[in-house]
Amino acid sequence: MFAVLAMIVGIVLGVVLEPTVPVALQPYLPIAVVAALDAVFGGIRARLDGIFDDKQFVISFVSNVLVAALIVYLGDQLGVGGQLSTGVVVVLGVRIFGNVAAIRRHLFRA
């Protein structure tokens, strides 16, 4: 419940402050969002499994975002940015789907 509140606070902050993203960072935004979503769904599932851990959640969030951005940056430098982005999205997407399926099993027993 509190987590939802904190996220809403973040959304409101984003709407109110309207931070501008530097142009150099803009390509990494979508991939960072996917990575953050992966961390969030992993956290929700861990919570439902009863094994949630603050440290693990924070570290997974930060490292997910950083590693995803790093891979995309590396891909851009090597000229295979699109392919590597696709790879990152596929891997994270698979994880998100798996975790959402587990969450669904917890919530609906189905």
Binding site: G14, L29, A39, V40, D53, F57
Partner: protein, 364 residues
């Protein structure tokens, strides 16, 4: 495909790659057996097998292993103290706030970049339309003023007015009327790729600037005295050229269908039809669907072209011819005083820029 087959595939793949020497070298529990390994329930794998391909692991257990480890260590050492709990709570809150902000920023970024391009395009298109309307209005005004000036001049010139009008009509600056032909030209339908249904890039039936040039030249050849394409009168210095996909006559963009109207002898329509040019376009019409129609028209009225103006030459008026020598009159001022500009005043070099006797109308 269920998990079991996926794992079997993984094992077979590894074996084929020679990553596993044989059953004896295999550390995994029963991985070398022909019987598939027993599936472990979710979250209960005691030690993550890194040798079993990580894709399988990814599909089977998408949760970070760290959660399990942390829970196990908590079970061993008891729940964390209040200070640690508070730190964790703060960190978690900050992370969640950051997540929310990230979502919003990404959303705004995506939404903001899209309409930016669209609005820029829209305003540019509006600009173009507005400028075109302005140009049209000003051209109309210029035409009126030109007629006004012509009538005023005729009143002043008196008996020589008709000769002047003749010269103007021939040079293309004055409006003319008479019988002639109307040639209508339009692109055929773009051929579509039989497989994809998309327009093909090699569009043989597309009218380009070259077509208008060829037909205009043929009309001149057949004796036309005045030609206008979509209302744009052709004069000696007119250009017909392509700019991107548009065809420009002088600087005015034309749009299809192209109507070339020419005033000339009554034989002109037949001459055009029987000429190689006419034959070529008839062939294009039957083969590629190009619209090409030639018909005699009576009572054509062609507007005059805008005066291109003289940039380098200076016309010689009778008064200046008597007052000064032609080479010593660099400006329009017909006075006999020494010119102040135009470099050193060496004693009259033999006139590399001596103006022609009259503005010659016909030559290209």
């Amino acid at each position: 495909m269920n998990r079991r087959t996926l794992i079997n595939h993984g094992d077979a793949l590894l074996r084929r790659l020679g990553l596993r020497a044989g059953p004896g070298a295999d550390p995994g529990p029963g991985a070398g057996d022909p019987v598939a390994p027993p599936l472990q329930p979710l979250g209960s794998s005691p030690q993550p097998e890194l040798s079993v391909d990580f894709l399988t692991e990814l599909f089977r257990n998408p949760l970070d292993a760290g959660y399990g480890d942390a829970a196990a260590s908590r079970a061993r050492s008891g729940p964390p103290g209040p200070a640690a709990r508070r730190t964790g709570f703060t960190l978690r809150t900050v992370t969640l706030i950051a997540t929310g902000a990230l979502l919003v920023v990404a959303y705004q970024q995506t939404v903001a970049t899209q309409p930016e391009a669209a609005t820029a395009r829209h305003s540019l298109a509006q600009d173009v339309q507005q400028r075109q309307a302005e140009t049209d209005a000003q051209q109309k005004q210029a035409e009126q003023l030109r007629q006004q000036a012509a009538s005023l001049r005729d009143a002043i010139v008196g008996p020589n007015a008709s000769a002047l009008d003749q010269v103007e009509a021939r040079s293309g600056l004055g409006a003319v009327t008479g019988d002639g032909v109307t040639v209508t030209l339009a692109s055929g339908p773009a051929p579509t790729d039989p497989v994809t249904g998309k327009p093909q890039s090699t569009d043989q039936g597309h009218i380009v600037d070259f077509d208008l040039q060829v037909i205009s030249n043929e009309l001149w050849h057949d004796g036309a005295e005045a030609i206008a394409i979509n209302g744009q009168r052709l004069i000696a210095t007119s250009t017909i050229r392509a700019a991107g996909n548009a065809i420009l006559v002088d600087l005015a963009p034309l749009s299809e269908p192209y109507t070339i109207r020419a005033i000339g002898p009554s034989t002109m329509a037949d001459a055009l039809r029987k000429s190689p040019v006419g034959g070529f376009y008839s062939y294009l019409a039957t083969s590629y669907g190009v619209k090409f129609a030639v018909r005699s028209t009576s009572g054509l009225r062609l507007a005059g072209a805008a005066d291109p103006g003289l940039r380098y030459a200076t016309p010689i008026t009778p008064s200046s011819r008597t007052a000064t020598s032609p080479s010593a009159s660099p400006g329009p001022a017909p006075s006999g005083t020494a010119p102040s500009g135009s470099g050193s005043t060496a004693p009259s070099p033999p006139a590399s820029k001596s103006p022609p006797a009259t503005p010659s109308p016909g030559g290209l």
